[in-house]
């Protein structure tokens, strides 16, 4: 039975259009000669200027480095957890289940504040490393759920066969399990990288004074007001984020996670 309800269909598409309006306008704004007036004509000047300035490259490089390191850390930890717990994941005591879910469930403000207090009380210097660790602290749980899903799809008889043929547990992991979960690993890594790259609040709380990531740079420019530089940076960020999302969505196994995230 085909669904025909013109009112609901209309409301759906109106909502979708409204959701895209601010982002489309952001992209459009980056090409305006005068950012405060759309009748002033178009130019590529701001974008070209941006690529020569350190205002773009330093935060971008920081964001990428933090993303790569924290995604790698999160994938290692999340996968270790999933390999150890996947078979018993539905029988875990509620306390452990809640603990794994906590970083996903709790609003970022509270995660950020608690990590800030933690770092300060441990007398860690806020900066690059604290941001990497903080990002991995919440993305590891996302990776865990992806990898549990991935491991469930594996044929358990494969492990048994390897063991019967005399493989030690570590050999089973490196030679049988790992090669079979590589697509999931890549999806998880990409998700963790995207989470880190797009994160604002956790970086805001744990970065201290010296470090700037791309979202932090956009935030600090926003507090000053609308400027061509800000519009250009926003345009770059929209492009990177959209590419990351499309890569994520195109991976079948992460599609579900796009929804749950």
């Amino acid at each position: 039975m085909r669904f025909r309800n013109p009112l609901v269909t209309f409301m759906f598409w109106t909502a979708i259009c409204l959701l895209y309006l601010p982002l489309i306008y952001l992209v459009f704004q980056a090409f305006l000669e005068n950012p405060n007036d759309w009748r002033g004509g178009f130019t590529l000047r701001w974008l070209i200027k941006l690529f020569d300035s350190p205002a773009l490259w330093e935060p971008l490089l920081n964001s990428v480095e933090i993303g790569v390191l924290s995604a790698t850390l999160a994938v290692s930890l999340g996968t270790l957890g999933a390999v150890g717990l996947s078979n018993i994941s539905s029988f875990l005591p509620p306390l452990i289940q809640t603990l794994i879910l906590l970083p996903i469930l709790v609003p970022e403000v509270i995660t950020g504040l608690s990590l800030l207090l933690f770092f300060l009380l441990c007398r860690f210097d806020l900066g690059f490393l604290t941001v990497v660790v903080a990002h991995a602290s919440f993305s590891a749980s996302f990776v865990y759920f992806i990898m549990v899903e991935q491991l469930r799809k594996l044929d358990p008889q494969m492990n048994e066969a390897a063991q019967d043929l005399g493989a030690k547990p570590t050999e089973v992991f490196w030679k049988v399990t790992l090669p079979n979960i590589i697509p999931g690993l890549m999806g998880g890594w990409l998700l963790a990288f995207t989470l880190s790259f797009d994160d604002f609040l956790i970086s805001f709380f744990t970065s201290g004074a010296g470090l700037t990531t791309l979202p932090l740079k956009i935030y600090s420019l926003m507090r000053i007001g609308v400027s061509p530089e800000l519009n250009g940076l926003s345009f770059v960020m929209v492009c990177i984020s959209t590419c990351l999302v499309l890569m994520l969505v195109s991976k079948e196994q992460s599609r579900k996670w796009v929804l749950k995230g």
């Binding site: 601010p22 982002l23 306008y25 952001l26 403000v109 933690f118 602290s137 990351l244």
Partner: protein, 286 residues
């Protein structure tokens, strides 16, 4: 079950990580919320409920009530916009379903700050809305830096988090329910009101809670879209840490929000297991 024991120790790396990076920081917040701050801004190690009592002082109570009201309006608006969206996605078949879901989610996987900046560009004093208004000779609308700015930001940013639970409750419904109701002579609206709505109300309620509670703690939206004068619970909480240097009071607010969230999680699990038991009873009766 020997194969379940492959590298069981590996799980410990992950669990210890979670304990150190999640449980310990939250425990610090929890512990901090019972401490006191001295006049000089240092922290006094004595156990008291003073911070929680302070939240019921008129100064903070006013902020709390204002925030609850704004978040409630925003949640209800999300419901009003999100329900048709979820309903469409649940009912439509074929490629439109996955395309619709992807279209809904792409904006929310682009950067959060950019979404806020997009709203600023649309509604700011030199934004497109006001440029259009002045082009036709109307007075400027000042939405930004008022509570309406915060409201728009909340609805925009939380919408998909309410669409998903409604969508999944609708998806779980047995399609034959609708047919059965139609066969028994129910009109479409009657089916919706008497068959569909009672079956999804718990899911919708829990979904709303998981949108409403994080809204209360929102910091960036009131900071960037509300004016300096607009007090908002999440903003007040962060300011306790960064400006007023009252960590214990800020921690008390954070603890309160976390407890509310855990309560919602508990309610969700309880209802989920109740429904499972119900399903078991039905299937055993059959």
């Amino acid at each position: 079950m020997k194969q379940t024991q492959i590298l069981p120790s590996s799980a410990w790396a992950f669990l210890i990580w979670l304990i150190v990076m999640t449980l310990v920081p939250f425990s610090i917040i929890l512990g901090m919320s019972f401490l006191e701050r001295t006049e000089l801004g240092t922290i006094l190690f004595s156990f008291s409920f003073k911070n929680y009592q302070q939240l019921f002082d008129w100064v903070y109570l006013k902020v709390l009530l204002k925030t609850v009201w704004l978040a409630l309006m925003a949640t209800l608006s999300c419901l009003a916009v999100g329900f048709p969206v979820a309903y469409y996605l649940a009912r439509v078949q074929g490629p439109m379903k996955s395309l619709g879901l992807i279209l809904l989610f792409i904006p929310f996987w682009t950067n959060f700050i950019l979404r806020i900046y997009g709203i600023v560009s649309l509604f700011g004093s030199n934004g497109i809305l006001n440029q259009l208004l002045s082009a036709v000779g109307l007075p400027k609308a000042s939405i930004l830096y008022t509570r309406w700015g915060v409201y728009v930001g909340l609805v925009y940013n939380y919408l998909p988090f309410l669409v998903v639970p409604i969508y999944s409750s609708l998806e779980k419904l047995d399609p034959f329910l609708r047919e059965a109701a139609a066969d028994l002579g129910a009109a479409r609206f009657q089916t919706f009101r008497k068959v569909i709505l009672p079956n999804i109300k718990e899911g919708v309620f829990i979904g709303s809670l998981f949108v409403f509670i994080p809204m209360l703690g929102e910091y960036v939206i009131p900071d960037l879209l509300g004016g300096a004068k607009e007090a908002f619970l999440g903003k007040v909480m962060v300011e306790q840490f960064f400006i007023l240097q009252d960590w214990p009071l800020g921690s008390a607010i954070a603890t309160m929000l976390s407890v509310l969230l855990l309560g919602a999680l508990w309610l969700q699990n309880r209802w989920a297991s109740k429904n499972q038991n119900g399903a078991k009873e039905v299937s055993s009766a059959v």
